[in-house]
């Protein structure tokens, strides 16, 4: 399945917003994953991503779905810098 982060907003900042977004994703999107299905995270449409938001969304996502999460490539510098700080990697 694909999680389009752009649908959560173009400016993804703050821990409370990240936490709320993950709770919604869990309730409405992630509940539909089947078995070991890959979960692709698509950063299209995201203009600003910060570690505060990402740590509340991507960190639990990767922890709760080990080996299933794929971070799709992006040219957005704030996304790349955030993933670098959190030590997460796009392929």
């Amino acid at each position: 399945m694909r999680l389009e982060l752009g649908k959560f907003g173009n400016i993804l900042t703050s821990r409370p917003a990240g936490k709320e977004s993950y709770l919604v994703a869990q309730a409405y999107s992630l509940s539909k994953t089947k078995g070991e299905e890959k979960i692709e995270v698509d950063f299209s449409g995201v203009e600003v991503l910060t570690p505060s938001w990402a740590d509340e969304f991507l960190t639990p996502l990767i922890s709760n779905y080990p080996g299933q999460v794929v971070l799709l490539p992006t040219n957005n510098a704030s996304v790349k810098a955030t993933l670098d700080i959190l030590r997460l990697r796009s392929p």
């Binding site: 600003v48 910060t50 505060s52 740590d55 810098a81 955030t82």
Partner: protein
């Protein structure tokens, strides 16, 4: 060795509040090689630093707040110290993070017209949001008096300030690192160590991100708290004594 020409260049940079090499040449005359030789020496002496990437490089005088401070910085510093409403213009006060977020969204549209590379806009606003949200994260319910942050922007001089009247970095960090003895040590921990000032929650990446953005993308940040400040540029981070005491925090970004 003293050089009258170099001193004239320095004075011009300081009085202009940030200028390009081309403007120096137009104003003072001389050839490009000579001007750049003097600029290199001034940078080596720590008296001047540069912001931005070619062809948008601007040179600034590395002077503490008094005397040469910009109008925006003076308002920010006065508000940081006094909390008096006279220092804030309409639209600059963000009582909650939702208000900050709305301002950031508007600011993005303005910055895209000034900064030609959108990626640099995204990084800059990411840094502003991390600094601002840090203020709320650590101070909700604990503000000295006025809740929220002052977000000020001067698009012409390419400056942004984010200021709060919270507890300050020393009080926050000392809770989790009791051996930290002062604001200078607290700043070093805040910008370089992955540590949560809100332990037992696991946090602590925001200011590391800010430092990375400043160092790698040609911006400048001076971050004041207590009696210390941290200067972060493409040459790295230096922590010094501040010329004045800031009870909460004051971030001054030049882009």
């Amino acid at each position: 060795m003293y050089s009258q020409k170099r001193e004239k260049i320095f004075d011009f940079i300081r009085e202009s509040g940030g200028t390009r090499a081309k403007d120096i040449m137009n104003h003072l005359g001389g050839n490009a090689a000579g001007i750049f030789r003097h600029l290199k020496r001034l940078q080596g002496d720590g008296r001047v630093y540069k912001i931005g990437k070619p062809p948008q490089v601007r040179y600034y005088a590395a002077i503490p707040a008094e005397g040469n401070a910009s109008a925006l910085f003076r308002r920010a510093a006065n508000w940081a110290v006094s909390g008096d409403a006279r220092w804030i213009k309409e639209g600059e006060y963000c009582q909650t993070r939702d208000v900050l977020r709305a301002r950031t969204a508007r600011l993005m549209q303005d910055l895209k017209k000034i900064v030609k590379d959108n990626n640099r806009v995204y990084l800059l606003l990411g840094a502003v949001e991390e600094i601002g949200n840090n203020s709320y994260d650590h101070n909700i319910g604990q503000w000295r008096d006025i809740p929220g942050v002052f977000l000020g922007v001067d698009a012409v001089n390419r400056e942004i300030v984010v200021v709060d009247r919270g507890q300050g970095v020393f009080a926050t960090i000392r809770r989790v690192e009791p051996e930290v003895e002062n604001s200078a040590q607290a700043l070093r921990v805040a910008f370089t160590k992955i540590i949560s000032g809100r332990a037992p929650e696991k946090r602590g990446n925001g200011l590391k991100f800010v430092k990375k953005v400043m160092e790698e993308y040609g911006f400048s940040l001076v971050f004041f708290t207590g009696d210390a400040l941290s200067e972060i540029r493409n040459t790295g981070m230096i922590i010094k004594e501040s010329p004045f005491a800031i009870p909460g925090t004051l971030a001054h970004i030049i882009f």
